[in-house]
Each structure stands twice: as structure tokens, then as C-alpha cells.
């Protein structure tokens, strides 16, 4: 099923070297920079999960705030309002997100939505979701939900904040990037790319478009929801304006585009470059010049799209990885 | 009047036309023949400036127009009546004709030219305010030619005017071609229909897979065995 390239990547000393080196960073970095890297890893994970739909099958889904919101707000509400253990909350939220993803994929297929219609409908869903979250007290309403203090109790989905959260995010991000590699090396990835390039032709050669698209959407939604739960645990505060607003999806889409759509490491690269830049700018100048980091994201995106529309990853490969074969070319 | 020398043109770096040279003299009706995929439409689009040539020259009235934009060529009077008519379906016949005379040179002359066109095609006069999309194929062809004439064409290039028309309409359209020829208009007839074109043009070129296989007076082309070969792709 899955081509050898995936297992080669899994066995690659480079990959584990980088991950291990990354895992040691909190030992040497201040808590401030550890925080920034944790946020960057959240976006690496989110952008890579989004990539399964947006990059590989070429459907620009703006509905992903729905999945992040489900993972974050629903699990938080279950914990705060009903006292349900967050591990269970994570599973319930992920299942809900998967179901929502399947519904969206079904609607897309059933009504044969074009690219534009898909963007618009998913945007409408995202807007509706944010209105529901803000208007429904169970999910925290407009004021959000405050989670209990993180005391590091693993059984309560607590990782002690700081380093613990960093390692959780590193693990999640690594897994999701590897899921990307696995999908790209599997029949699913091949089908998705066929669908992206020409859906009618894919159908004509016998690709079950509904099944492939639904699979991709469900995988992406479940992973996104899990990251959402971990993210809200790290933040301790479930802020609907951050976690259930379409703006977060737009950020994700832009990171993925800057890095390289549809490539396994592209979205990760985009998020790793832009998030620390943005967060540092926000930390240093946020008080004096609010919005500067978004402003710069915007400029970077425009410049990248105009200058190298396939993203920065191909550029990086040419610069750094020309000779080595440490990572498969996907 | 219009001269093409050593033209190479195609799409996305792949040449379809190789070393084409042809000439249209003032007042002449010249036929450009060829089977499907021979490169006729690429050639006419190079003349209109839609396709940019990779090599060669196009000279109009002694001026090199090889790099001129489509708009500049329309301004000079090089007018194409495209294959499949391509009328503006949601606009009225009148509006289609007005758009035909859009270029700066033709704009002030539109009322006069409109009268001429409507005299040539009385059918269009009856349908002036009807959306062009509701016309029959033959009527649309009349409109497309009328629209081309509105631009004060100095060279009128008709791409497959007989395509998809009933025999009666084909006859009618070619009657119009004869009449325009009598009025002294220079025309390039791009056609697949061999016998028809040979009857209405003075000289012909036969395209075969991107190059000119046969050229000469209509009679000569008609009797040249290579003409049939080019068509059958032998």
C-alpha cells in the first residue's frame, strides 16, 4: 500500500536527528522562546493537517476553524461544564470534527461544488460556527472558557505547560507531517493529486472521488481537532475569537501557501519561518505597532505568490538539499 | 498589401507553423485551405496578433507589424471574423455591430457603416434589437461578417465561414463574399471546404501539417495532385 519512501523517511537518521535536536531546544532556550516555538509547532501541525485537503486535493477549505473550534471549545466545554475528562473530550471532539468533515465532503460531492463554491460554502460554515460559539453559553459564549490550572497530571491531559506542552506539540507536529509523507506515498495521495489536477478525468479512470475526498477531509478534520484540544490545554483559556474565527484558517492557508502547497514539508516550513517572525515582532513591537506581524505575513504571502508560486520549499531544496538525499522528493 | 515571410508560430514553445510565407494583394480574395489541425487557425491568429510569432515577419502596407498587439492590428484594419462566429450572445445585434466598430479609426464612421452593413444583410435589420444568442447559425455568421465590416476592414479574414451552416446559407454567405470582392475588399478565406473556396478565390494556399504544400492560382491548385494528398494526409 504505502511506498518504501515513507519507511525510508521513517528510518532516516536526519528526521529523528532534527526532531531530537528540536526536543532539546527547551533545555537551552528561555521560556519565552520556548513559548514562541510551541506556537510555531501548533501552526506547523495545523497547516500540515490542512494541507491534506487544501494542498493535496486542491480544495481551499476555509472551514478548518470549525475543526479547530470543535477540538478546542467542545473539549473545553465538556471539561468545564460537565467535568468530562479531557482525554475523553479529545476523542469526542475529534469524532465530532470527523463527522463534520465527512458532511462537508459529502455536500461538496453531492452538489458538485466548483472551487469557488467550495471556498465560499466553507467560509459560510466557518462564519456560522463562530456565531454559534459566540452565542451559545455552553461553549463559553463570547467571553470564552477558563480551564483549570495545568498541574502536569497526565491522566487529566495536563502536561505541565512550558516544556511539556512544547514536547506534546513537537510530537503532534511530527506525527502530522509524517501522515503527510505517508499519504503522499500511498494510493490515497495519488488519487488526491489526480482529483486536484482534473476531477472529471479522475472519475473517468475509476477513482472513487467521494471516498477519496471524504477520507482526506476526515483525516484532516480529526488531526486538526486533536491539535485544537492540545492548543486550548496549552493556552488554558478557550478564546472563541482566536480558536473559532475564520481568521485562524486564513493564517493557516497562507503559511501553507508560503511554504509550498501539497508538499509534505511545505506547510511546516511556512509556519516555522513565519510564526516565530510574527511572534517575535508581536512581542517586541506589538504594543507600539499592533498588527505589524499580520501586515508582514500579508506582504510575504503576496511576494511569494508573485515570485515563486509553488512556495519556498522548492527554493530551499535547491539551496540546501541539492546534494543530500536525506528527504524524499515529494 | 499583407505579406508573411518565414513565419514560425505555435503555443507554449511548440511550433505549429513552420516557415510560412504568403502574400495578399490589394483587392484579392485568397483562399487558405487545409485539413483539420493543419494550422489554419494558428496562422489567422498570428495575423491577428493573438499568437505571437517565434520567428519570421508580417508586413502590412509596407510596415512591419510582427510585434503589433491585436488592438493595433484592428486599428490598422486587419480584421478577423473568427471560427464559430463568436458573437456576443447576450447583446443585441445592434450592440454587436457597434462593438465591431469599436476601434478609434472606425468609431466616427459607425452610423454610415451600419447602414451599409444592414443594406448588405437585410435579415439583420429585422433583428436589430434581438439578443445575438437567439439568432440562427446562418444569421450569426451574417452578424459576425457584418461586425467585421463595421471595423472598416482593409483586410477581412474569414475563419471557416461555412462551418455548421446549411447548404443554402453557405451559398448565401459565399454570394456575399463575391459581392465584397466586387466592391474591392481584400479577403483571406480560411476554409476546409476545398471546391467551394477554389470557386470563390483567385489564389490559394494549401496548408499541410504546418507548412504550405501547394500555392498558386485557383485552377493550378485545383489540378495539383498534392492538394488532395495534403487533405488526405498522405
Amino acid at each position: 500500500m504505502i511506498k518504501d519512501d515513507f519507511f525510508k523517511t521513517l528510518a532516516s537518521p536526519w528526521l529523528w536527528g532534527i526532531v531530537l535536536l528540536g526536543a532539546m531546544l527547551p533545555m537551552v532556550l528561555s521560556s519565552y522562546y520556548t513559548h514562541i516555538l510551541t506556537i510555531a509547532l501548533v501552526y506547523v501541525a495545523l497547516a500540515s493537517a490542512w494541507n491534506i485537503v487544501g494542498g493535496m486535493s486542491g480544495q481551499i477549505s476555509l472551514a478548518h476553524s470549525l475543526f479547530i473550534g470543535t477540538g478546542a471549545m467542545l473539549s473545553a466545554a465538556l471539561l468545564v461544564k460537565l467535568g468530562i475528562n479531557m482525554w475523553a473530550g479529545l476523542v469526542i471532539a475529534a469524532a465530532t470534527a470527523g463527522l463534520l468533515g465527512a458532511i462537508i465532503a459529502w455536500i461538496d460531492f453531492r452538489f458538485q461544488l466548483g472551487h469557488l463554491s467550495f471556498v465560499l460554502i466553507t467560509l459560510a460554515f466557518a462564519e456560522m460556527a463562530s456565531i454559534v460559539v459566540e452565542g451559545w453559553d455552553f461553549l463559553g459564549g463570547a467571553s470564552g472558557l477558563l480551564l483549570p490550572q495545568d498541574t502536569g497530571n497526565f491522566l487529566d491531559f495536563q502536561f505541565g505547560g512550558g516544556r511539556g506542552a512544547f514536547w506534546v506539540m513537537l510530537g503532534l507536529a511530527t506525527i502530522i507531517v509524517l501522515v503527510n509523507v505517508a499519504i503522499l506515498n500511498s494510493p490515497l495521495g495519488y488519487y488526491l493529486r489526480t482529483i486536484r489536477d482534473n476531477e472529471k478525468a479522475a472519475q473517468a479512470i475509476g477513482v472513487n472521488v467521494l471516498r477519496q475526498k471524504t477520507t482526506a477531509m476526515v483525516i484532516s478534520a480529526v488531526l486538526t481537532s486533536i491539535v485544537g484540544t492540545a492548543y486550548v490545554r496549552y493556552l488554558t483559556f478557550a478564546d472563541p475569537y482566536l480558536l473559532a474565527s475564520p481568521v485562524i484558517t486564513i493564517e493557516i492557508v497562507l503559511f501553507a501557501t508560503v511554504g509550498g502547497l501539497g508538499r509534505a514539508y511545505g506547510p511546516a516550513l511556512g509556519a516555522l519561518l513565519l510564526v516565530p517572525l510574527g511572534e517575535v515582532l508581536r512581542g517586541k513591537l506589538g504594543g507600539a505597532v499592533p498588527g505589524l506581524h499580520y501586515f508582514i505575513y500579508g506582504i510575504v504571502v503576496i511576494v511569494v505568490i508573485l515570485a515563486t508560486p509553488s512556495g519556498l520549499l522548492p527554493l530551499f531544496e535547491r539551496l540546501f538539499w541539492r546534494r543530500s538525499r536525506m528527504l524524499p522528493k515529494i | 498589401m499583407l505579406e508573411v515571410e518565414g513565419l514560425v508560430a505555435g503555443y507554449a514553445g511548440t511550433p505549429i507553423l513552420r516557415d510560412i510565407s504568403l502574400r495578399l494583394d490589394r483587392g484579392e480574395t485568397v483562399g487558405l485551405l487545409g485539413a483539420n489541425n493543419a494550422g489554419k487557425t494558428t496562422l489567422i491568429n498570428s495575423l491577428s496578433g493573438i499568437v505571437t510569432p517565434m520567428a519570421g515577419r508580417i508586413i502590412f502596407d509596407g510596415r512591419d507589424v510582427t510585434r503589433a498587439t491585436p488592438m493595433q492590428r484592428v486599428e490598422m484594419g486587419i480584421i478577423q471574423v473568427p471560427e464559430g462566429r463568436l458573437v456576443f450572445p447576450e447583446m443585441s445585434v445592434r450592440e454587436n455591430l457597434l462593438l465591431g466598430g469599436f476601434c478609434d479609426r472606425a468609431r466616427p464612421l459607425r452610423p454610415r457603416q451600419m447602414e451599409k452593413v444592414l443594406a448588405l444583410f437585410p435579415r439583420l435589420k429585422e433583428r436589430l434589437s434581438q439578443p445575438a444568442g437567439t439568432l440562427s447559425g446562418g444569421e450569426q455568421q451574417m452578424l459576425a461578417i457584418g461586425r467585421g465590416l463595421m471595423a472598416e476592414a482593409r483586410v477581412l479574414m474569414l475563419d471557416e465561414p461555412s462551418l455548421g451552416l446549411s447548404p443554402l446559407f453557405v451559398q448565401y454567405i459565399f454570394g456575399i463574399v463575391d459581392q465584397l470582392h466586387k466592391d474591392g475588399l481584400t479577403m483571406l478565406l480560411v476554409e476546409q471546404n476545398l471546391n467551394l473556396t477554389l470557386r470563390h478565390a483567385q489564389r490559394c494556399y494549401v496548408l499541410e501539417r504546418g507548412h504550405i504544400a501547394v500555392e498558386g492560382a485557383a485552377e493550378v491548385v485545383k489540378n495539383d495532385p498534392r492538394t488532395r494528398q495534403a487533405y488526405l494526409g498522405l
Partner: protein, 287 residues
């Protein structure tokens, strides 16, 4: 009963301005296939320009418009020429992403200059009311409605009976044939985009009196505009104005008759249903 009339009137007045916002987007989509996700941020930009002109010279928005129209039009032309035109031939989605990037730049550029606090631009008409029986109308809304319809009619006449208008429609219906008519398709696209952005300067001034503005509002305006354009069938002129009214009225009705949250959901629900079951929009077309 009076509540119904009140909501209806308010819906019509706001809706007509929405229609005007959407006409610009519909024109641009029809001519160049670009769906501009920064549309709402251009509205923001025009509104904040009015605010700046008020702060600096105490100009009423209705006067500022004389300055913002040419400035917005010029910005529109430059944006199309240097950012969107190079994208011709790219995948549609890349253009969407580019305009999303543009949206971030505009929104946060405004935020950096004006700060994030909600602001108001005073106008002489702000507090004037017109009372018709039970129905109380704000003068600003009446003016907005009248100007929006006048502009819509003006645009319609322009599209129907001027050479520029016909060239816009020609490019929309068949860009290749339009080029053969000697129409400079690229120039028409630039000018249409500039026109679409220029219209926003007017719409911004109409919406301003009594409306608090903040830099982050852009996306909401973009979404409303998209709703209206889709309801109208993307490029159908009458349909778009009608779509504006439908959204305006459903929004007003929703907030009056159903709870606030549900009321805000109504337009989106309508939008999704229309997208799914009538993708050609509300109006019927002779095909």
C-alpha cells in the same frame, strides 16, 4: 405591525448599499474572474480615509467622497495592474490566496495607523430622523438608499449604452472575441477593477454615518458582499441588487424576530441553501 415595517424599511435601506458593494465585485468577477477576498478591507480603507479627513480637516464623509473616489479608483488600478494582472493564467486559487494576503496587509496597515479602538466619523445627517407614522427612519439610511439606487441605475445605463460599458460586457461574454474587436482586454480589466474599488468609496461614505468602524471589520464586509454576489448569480446586475435587498431584509428581520444569534445565522443559512440548490442565483435567466 409597525415593527415589521420598521424592519422591512431598515432592511431595504441597508440592503441597497450591500447591493452597491456587491456590484463592484460582480463586475470584476465577470470581466477578469477574480474573486477579491480583500473587497471588505478596501471598504474599510475608504471608511478610514473619511475618518482621517475628518480628523485633519473636519470634513463630512459626504464631502470627503470627492477625495476618496479618485484615490480609491487609483489604488484599485494600481493593485490590479501590479498584483492581480501578473496572476493571469495562474490557478484561480492562487488569486484567492493573493487577495487573502492583500486583506491582511490592508487590515493591519489600517490597524497600525489608526489603532484598534472602534471609531466614529461624525456627519451632519447622523442624528436626523424622518418619521412616517409608526416608522422612524434615519436620514442617513434614506440618503444611502437613494444614492445606491441612483448609482446602480447609472452603472446600468453606462453598461448598456456607452462604448466603455459595452466593452466591459464584451470582455465578460467572450474575451477572445473582444480582443478581435480591437478592445484592449487588459485595460478593460484594470479599469473595471478600478471602477469596482471606486464604487466602494461611495458605499463607504453611505455606510459611515452612525456606524462605528474598526480595522478588523473587513472580512465581515467581504463575506456579506460574497453572499450578495452569489445570491445575485455572480454577474447578473439586477440579481445582485435584489440579492442585496434579500440579505439586508433577512438580516433586519432576523434580529427583530429571532434571537440575536439565530438572526445572524439567517443570511448564511440562506446563502448555503442558495449555493446548493440554485447556484445560478435568485433570478431566472433566458438561457
Amino acid at each position: 405591525m409597525s415593527e415589521l415595517w420598521q424592519a422591512l424599511a431598515q432592511g431595504v435601506f441597508i440592503g441597497s448599499t450591500y447591493g452597491l458593494l456587491a456590484l463592484g465585485m460582480g463586475l470584476v468577477y465577470g470581466v477578469s474572474g477574480v474573486v477579491n477576498f480583500a473587497h471588505g478591507d478596501f471598504i474599510s480603507l475608504a471608511m478610514f480615509m473619511c475618518l482621517a479627513l475628518f480628523s485633519a480637516f473636519s470634513l463630512d464623509p459626504y464631502v470627503s467622497v470627492l477625495i476618496t473616489i479618485p484615490v480609491m479608483t487609483a489604488i484599485g488600478a494600481l493593485v490590479y495592474r501590479f498584483l492581480l494582472r501578473p496572476m493571469v493564467g495562474y490557478k484561480f486559487l492562487m488569486v484567492v490566496q493573493l487577495t487573502l494576503g492583500l486583506s491582511l496587509v490592508l487590515q493591519n496597515g489600517i490597524l497600525m495607523i489608526f489603532g484598534g479602538q472602534p471609531a466614529r466619523t461624525p456627519s451632519i445627517v447622523e442624528s436626523k430622523l424622518i418619521i412616517l407614522g409608526d416608522v422612524v427612519l434615519r436620514l442617513a439610511h434614506v440618503i444611502a438608499c437613494a444614492v445606491a439606487f441612483a448609482m446602480a441605475i447609472g452603472l446600468y445605463v453606462m453598461l448598456r449604452s456607452t462604448d466603455f460599458g459595452r466593452s466591459i460586457r464584451a470582455v465578460h461574454q467572450n474575451a477572445h472575441a473582444a480582443a478581435l474587436m480591437g478592445i484592449d482586454v487588459g485595460r478593460v480589466q484594470v479599469m473595471t477593477f478600478a471602477l469596482g474599488i471606486g464604487i466602494l468609496a461611495v458605499a463607504a461614505a453611505l455606510l459611515l454615518p452612525g456606524t462605528p468602524i474598526q480595522p478588523t471589520q473587513g472580512l465581515q464586509y467581504t463575506v456579506i458582499t460574497l453572499l450578495v454576489v452569489v445570491l445575485g448569480g455572480m454577474t447578473n446586475f439586477v440579481g445582485i441588487m435584489l440579492g442585496g435587498l434579500v440579505i439586508g431584509i433577512s438580516e433586519a428581520m432576523g434580529t427583530v424576530y429571532v434571537s440575536d444569534t439565530l438572526g445572524r445565522l439567517v443570511p448564511y443559512a440562506i446563502f448555503v441553501l442558495i449555493m446548493l440548490f440554485r447556484p445560478q442565483g435568485l433570478t431566472w435567466r433566458a438561457s
